[in-house]
Amino acid sequence: MLTETKETKDQHTPSTSSEIPDEWFKPKEKDAESAETVVRPSLSYWQDAWRRLRGNTLAMGGLIFLIVLGLMAIFGPIFSPYTVSDGNLPEQNLPPSADHWFGTDNLGRDVFTRTWYGARISLFVGLMAAIIDFFIGVTYGGIAGYKGGRTDNVMMRIIEILYGLPYLLVVILLLVVLGPSLFTIIVALTVTGWVGMARIVRGQVLQIKQNEFVLASQSFGTKTSRIIRKNLLPNTMGPIIVQMTLTVPTAIFAEAFLSFLGLGIQSPFASWGVMANDALGVILSGDWWRLFFPAFFISATMFAFNVLGDGLQDALDPKLRR
């Protein structure tokens, strides 16, 4: 019966009603399921998000840039005969050449090598800040949003106060006291940095908490921590990922900013911020490469993270799903 139908379908469609063969007017035997079939292929949330992200050229460009940058930060220095801290004084302030691709600085250190070491530090600071923000923010925001009521009220008051504190001023103050180092910079950046994440998570959790599937697991007596892990987190992942993508450039920028105040990573180690700051004084004398490379990589990295964050925001927004 079914195959017959297929065949007649492929036949020439009559253009006027008189051409239609009589037997087409026989009532059809119906199988109940055919009405329920959905025509469009269904994609999972992540598949759909990935498909949309892939279509976003700018975001994909950002992602590829960041992957290459990450690889260069790890392996780049290996290909270089120079080290990050050993200068060669006769070779100071050389412009880019075959020996020194990015030139040398005022102590004769190779800028190419230092740039990739700088990438390590800058990316490390950025990623650590994002990861720590993630853990504190998700825990705090998750609990506040999930428990609700009085707990939420108290926790939100605390957040409100922390949010009112000027972020960079607190960071500066802490670093003045703690003394600048890689560790203290990350600590200072995350002391109040997680507040934004906590607010986002709480808002998401509050919204999703009302959903039936959460009520259902609650009624089965599932433990709170399990509900947060299994039900709430997967559904709040979108905004969290976006927030993390945007935390990284903020932290990288903050580290560069701190270098300007003399509170960044200390010499001879390099971060992009330190390198740019060292080069500021000499930019007018024409040694452009010393500022150009760190400045370019800070800007390009921030640009890449920003466009990737935007792309993820669009790709992960359930409202935009079609």
Partner: protein
């Protein structure tokens, strides 16, 4: 509304108090007290310090007296410059920084909102893409990079404008550009997305169904609602501009408050760091308070919401 203001006001006082306390105890936590003689090495300075911070008294008394001095807006002496006090530095530097800050905010707001609205109205057209690419670039390029770039290109190569100091309106243009671009980009992006959302609202459809002109719909119905989110981030933006002045004033050699602050940090001039931090924080928290109130005035729903809560 009154209850809302009062609540916000107490939150503001509490925040200032926390910052002052934090500053005090953090400074005291620095190993080998920042205020002892080896670090100051100047009798006059040491005298000033002991007098202001009551170093002969026990810590709790010091703390209380310190809070008192803050209430009276007396931030104490400078260690490195015996003839200066934090107040005298503030008096000289703050007006200049404020001038830079106010212009920056104004430029950022006007250009950011314009860019955002135009991009939203030409959604997915070339002008939208252009504006948003400019905006992402503006967010991505740190202000110190932009500052050196404009100095190099506009001041040194083209010789169009002076590169440094703060003597005439021409001197102000480059620092303002360098400082305003970031906030402008943030405002433009926010305005665009919130404008796009507002334009899909039913009341915009209603306004169109009434036969209003597109200009009237945008200005009267969409803009005010679309700008609400911009108002909420004004406080954060202000904080960004303020910390931005540290860098910009250093690069452009502008004798503002930021320059003294950075100098204080570099020389570990602790009373200056403490004083300016508290001053800056108080200023910012007060601005946040004003922004909150402004939001309440702009959005009629907030009044009822608060009344309903009583």
């Amino acid at each position: 509304m009154l209850k809302y203001i009062v609540k916000r006001f107490f939150l503001m006082i509490l925040t200032i108090f926390i910052i002052a306390t934090l500053t005090f105890f953090l400074m005291n936590a620095i190993p080998g007290s920042p205020f002892n003689e080896e670090k100051t090495s100047n009798a006059v300075v040491q005298q000033n310090l002991e007098k202001h911070f009551n170093l002969d008294k026990p810590l709790p008394v010091q703390y209380v007296l310190y809070l008192k001095s803050i209430i009276t807006f007396d931030f104490g002496p400078s260690i490195k410059q015996p003839t200066e006090t934090v107040n005298s530095l503030l008096g000289r530097g703050f007006p200049i920084s404020a001038e830079l800050g106010i212009w920056t905010i104004l430029v950022a707001l006007i250009s950011g909102i314009t860019l955002g609205v135009v991009a939203a109205l030409r959604h997915n057209k070339l002008i939208d893409y252009t504006a948003m690419t400019i905006a992402v670039l503006g967010i991505s390029i740190p202000n110190f990079v932009l500052a050196t770039l404009v100095i190099q290109v506009i001041a040194v190569d083209l010789k169009l404008l002076p590169a440094a100091t703060w003597n005439s309106p021409q001197h102000m243009i480059l620092p303002i550009i360098a400082l305003a671009t970031g906030p402008m980009a943030i405002i433009a992006r926010l305005t665009r997305s919130s404008m796009l959302e507002t334009l899909t609202q039913d009341y915009i459809k209603t306004a169109r169904a009434k036969g209003l002109s597109p200009f009237k719909i945008v200005v009267k119905h969409a803009l005010r609602n679309a700008l609400m989110p911009v108002v909420t981030i004004l406080g954060t933006l202000l904080a960004g501009v303020l910390t931005g002045t540290f860098v910009i004033e250093k690069i452009f050699a502008i004798p503002g408050m930021g320059k003294y602050f950075v100098q204080g940090i570099n020389q570990r001039d602790y009373p200056v760091i403490m004083g300016t931090t508290v001053f800056y924080s108080t200023f910012l928290v007060m601005m946040l308070f004003l922004v909150d109130i402004m939001y309440g005035v702009l959005d009629p729903r907030i009044k009822l919401h608060k009344k309903g809560g009583e």
